[in-house]
Structures are given as structure tokens and as C-alpha cells.
Amino acid sequence: MGFPTGLDEHMQIYLPIAEMSVNAFLLLGLGGLVGVLSGMFGVGGGFLMTPLLFFIGIPPAVAVATEANQIVASSFSGVLAHFRRQTVDIKMGTVLLVGGLIGAALGIVLFNYLKSLGQVDLLVKLFYVVFLGVVGGLMFIESLNTIRKTRKSGGEIKARRQRTWIQTLPFKMRFRTSGLYISVIPPVAVGILVGILAAIMGVGGGFIMVPAMIYILGMPTKVVVGTSLFQIMFVTAFTTMLHATTNFTVDIVLAVLLLVGGVIGAQFGTKIGLKMKAENLRIWLAIMVLAVCGKLAMDLLLQPTELFSLGVGGH
């Protein structure tokens, strides 16, 4: 990004909460890189940013809490845009949000319990390996199939809508914007799952929620992104508050640097994304997700060079 490289050595910045000194351009660059990717693929990028922060040595607890804070900000402008286009189902968003808040609270309880046992790093990394592995793998297979099908038949992918057992559940509610009349149980359940992920992994959870909204709830595609951003914004705001008040791990200086880099990167990413084919984009995203998953898995599987780790007392 056109910064004069001679400045780099002098741009160390001390992060007040992480209590370490990091190069400001490295953080802006990471923010920018993830921003480009999120602009290209239309994803939040939390699931890539948090592991990258682990890799540069930010303590996982700080990375997760700070990333939640960053996601609030990056989803805010997205939600505004969707409100203008009226592509937010507020009623459905609120039901998902109720689940999300319950899930986030459960997630924080689990997070803090494992922190007291000294196993929180393991918890966060295991969650990443499992979810990135499953999501990346499914995405990879699906986009390979799509590419094969489009080559054979020249397009036309059928929309799948499963609504057999969903229809039998009680507590039905009408969602006008989505044109649905379904039970509130599935959306609350989806919300809870996403809330847990937000608290433990420092992600928005769009990568789980968007497919769930389409395939499980049967929502129309045009309201899916706006509604999920609406839910994500409030759940990550709640998560940020929980981390800030129980663990004191939200680093605002880190969040702002990542954010500024991210906003700039996203502008470029969107332009690149428009020029690429959707199936090719998906397969590249899948490969990247699997690569991050692989790196984290190796860290757990291979014998570390230092078996010991230090934690300052009182935590």
C-alpha cells in the first residue's frame, strides 16, 4: 500500500491492553489484507483476522475480544446500507438476536471457565480448526460441484428448500419481510449457535448464519445478508461488552488500526470481486479457509518447540 517503507522501523505502536509493541503498518496491512478478502468474497473476515492475530503473537483472549469490537464497526456501515435498500427483516433479525444474546452469554461463561483452567487458547484454537475445517471443506466440495455442473449443463442451479420438519414445530410467527410463517425455534437455535461462536472465536458468524438462513429457515436471498449483519452487529456489541467487563481484553488501539486498514482494503476487494467469477471466488475462499485451518491444526498436532508457557497470576 504505497507507504514509504523507510518509516516502518519508527512506526512501532504500543498496544495498551495487549501490553506489547507492534508495528503499526503491520496491523494496517493485516487489516487491509483481510479487508480486500472480505470485499472480494463478501464475508466479514473475522474468522481470518483472529487467527492472523494469533500468528503475530497477540494473546488469543485479546485477539478474540478486540475482533468482536472491530466487527461491530464493520457491520455498522453494512447494516446502514441495507436499511436504505430495505433488505433487513427486522422481526427475523430480532428473533435471531434473542438467540444470539443467550448464546453469547453461554459462550462467555464457557470461555471464562476454561480461562481459569488455563485451557482457553486450546478452546479457541479447537473451535477454529473444527469450524474452518467443516465450512472450508463443504464450500470447496460445493463449488467444485457447481463448476462441474455449469460446465455440463451451462448454468441453472436449483434453489434447495427443505421445509419438512421445520413446518411441524410450534410457536409459529409471521415474518412479513421474508414472506415466512414458521416456528421461532429454528431461528432462536441458529442465533444461539452463532452467539456462542461470536463469544469464543471473535467472529460475526455470518459464514454459519447465512447458509442456515437460506437452507434451514428458507429465507429469500435478498434479505439474508442485511438481516444477518443486523444480528451480528448487536451480538458482537454485546460480546465486546462482556469481554471488556469480565476479562479487560478489548484493545481499542488495535481495533482502530485493523478497522482503518480493513475499510481501505474492502474498497479494493469489492472492485476485484466484481471482475471475478462467483464459483472461482468461492473455491479460492475455501482454499484460504482450509489453509488457515491447516496451520492451526499443525500447531496443535506437532510438538511445540517450547512446552512451557507463562501466565501472570491473578488470571
Binding site: I17, S21, A73, T240, A244, T245, L300, L302, S309, G311
Partner: protein, 253 residues
């Protein structure tokens, strides 16, 4: 009466060491600012003496110790033969967050083991570990791990031969402190030694403090975390929204 007189005559020699340290520091405060990237402190001084220089060799040892806090040391082991998991923990109850020991020569030449232990001078002696849980039999490995990890992070430094001594009188050394310092009072001690024995010592403190924005943010995050959380959200939203609004404007022109 005669006995008392004898005592008084002997006293000055006992009370006043023949050689004393006069100490100087290049700075008494280290400020952690937003652009803090470590600090170097010059510690210097002179040996004041009333009598001629003795024949034996004079040595100077300088230690700088950060605030001590209990540290939990965890050890990973393979779990279910598959992944590496923390499975044993030992509480090391006193370990300085930073410790540098500089001397005019190799520690074994400068000080006897007993003097070293008495004044807790070398890194190994500055750390104190009491009880290990029953399932840990090799608690020494955990203390060693603290030293190894902190030494690799430049938080523990053994600087043998790094104190310069001129004409048996003027001494100086420079201690580099890394960027990830813990706040607090850093105790600086200077020892004069002859024939392996400490003959005089002097102590002072260097204050390491976060200042300005760093201090304000850190204190706020601990003292009023709810307010800090709300402020973080507001700042992040404003920054994100502002940056994308700026981009929209720039594109329109």
C-alpha cells in the same frame, strides 16, 4: 568504662565501609507512550574512599529488577496421543517481570555462592518458588522454564563483563529494556565486591509508568470497564463509518 572506650575506638572502622558507592542514573523515569519501543538506561557511578586503594581486585555488580508477580507456569503434554494440551501447572510465587544483572567479570569470579544467595543476585536466586502440586515431581523444570522463556524475550539478561570499571573508581553500564515492560518500580542495586564478598551496596528505584493516552486507556479499562467497553464501541463505529464515508465522498468527486 575502658571496655566502652575500646568499642568507640573500633566503631568508625566497623560502621563506615572503606569504600562506598556514589550512584547516577541517566533517567529515573521510563515512560511507556504510544510509540514506546523499549528504553536504554545508563547506570554509572564512582567509588568513594577515605583510604588508599586496597591491593585486591574490585568488582562491581549492578542489578535491575522489575516488580515481582506470581506466575503460573503451564506445561503441555500430548493428550489422547493426538494434540498438545496444557496439563500441569506450577505457581512460581515470586518472579521479577524484568531482571538484568551486569558485572565486571564472570559471576563465579566476582562473588562467592553464599554472597550471591544472600543478596539474591543472580537470576536463579532472584526467583522464588514454593509449593508445587502433588502431581508435579520436577518443579525445578518449571522455574527453569520461566528463566528460559523470559531470557529469550530479553526480559532476563545476564550481562557478565558488561560493567566498565575505570581506574578502580568510575563504573558504568547500559541496560536495554524491551518494549513489553510491566509497569512499576524497578529496583536498581549496585554492589561493590572484593575477594568474593560484598563490601558495600546501594539501592535506588527507576519508575516505569504508562503515560498519556496509554495510561488513560489502561486505567479506564480496569476502573470503569463498562464505560471503556461503550467507548470502544463508539470509537470503532465512528472510525469505521467515518472511513467508509470518506471513501464514498472521494469516489464521488
Amino acid at each position: 568504662m575502658r571496655y566502652l572506650l575500646a568499642c568507640l575506638l573500633m566503631f568508625p572502622g566497623l560502621l563506615m565501609a572503606e569504600e562506598e558507592v556514589v550512584l547516577g542514573l541517566s533517567k529515573k523515569h521510563v515512560s511507556i507512550t504510544t510509540t514506546f519501543d523499549g528504553s536504554e538506561i545508563l547506570i554509572f557511578g564512582a567509588v568513594k574512599r577515605e583510604s588508599p586503594v586496597p591491593d585486591t581486585e574490585l568488582h562491581v555488580v549492578i542489578t535491575v529488577a522489575g516488580p515481582s508477580r506470581p506466575v503460573t507456569v503451564r506445561r503441555k503434554a500430548k493428550w489422547l496421543g493426538l494434540i498438545w494440551v496444557n496439563n500441569a501447572a506450577v505457581e512460581v510465587d515470586l518472579a521479577p517481570s524484568f531482571y538484568a544483572v551486569a558485572s565486571t567479570g564472570p559471576m563465579s569470579d566476582v562473588l562467592s555462592a553464599t554472597e550471591n544467595l544472600r543478596h539474591r543476585i543472580s537470576i536463579e536466586n532472584a526467583i522464588r518458588s514454593v509449593g508445587a502440586p502433588d502431581n508435579v515431581t520436577d518443579s525445578a523444570a518449571f522455574t527453569k522454564a520461566v528463566i528460559r522463556i523470559r531470557r529469550n524475550a530479553d526480559l532476563y539478561q545476564q550481562l557478565e563483563g558488561q560493567v566498565a570499571l575505570d581506574q578502580q573508581t568510575l563504573f558504568r553500564t547500559a541496560i536495554k529494556m524491551p518494549a513489553n515492560l510491566t509497569e512499576g518500580d524497578y529496583t536498581t542495586r549496585i554492589f561493590l565486591a572484593r575477594e568474593g564478598k560484598v563490601i558495600s551496596h546501594q539501592e535506588t528505584t527507576i519508575e516505569v509508568r504508562k503515560v498519556g493516552l496509554e495510561r488513560w486507556l489502561f486505567n479506564m479499562s480496569r476502573q470503569s470497564p463498562a464505560l471503556y467497553g461503550l467507548m470502544s464501541l463508539a470509537i470503532a463505529i465512528a472510525a469505521g463509518w467515518g472511513a467508509s464515508a470518506a471513501f464514498r465522498l472521494a469516489r464521488r468527486d
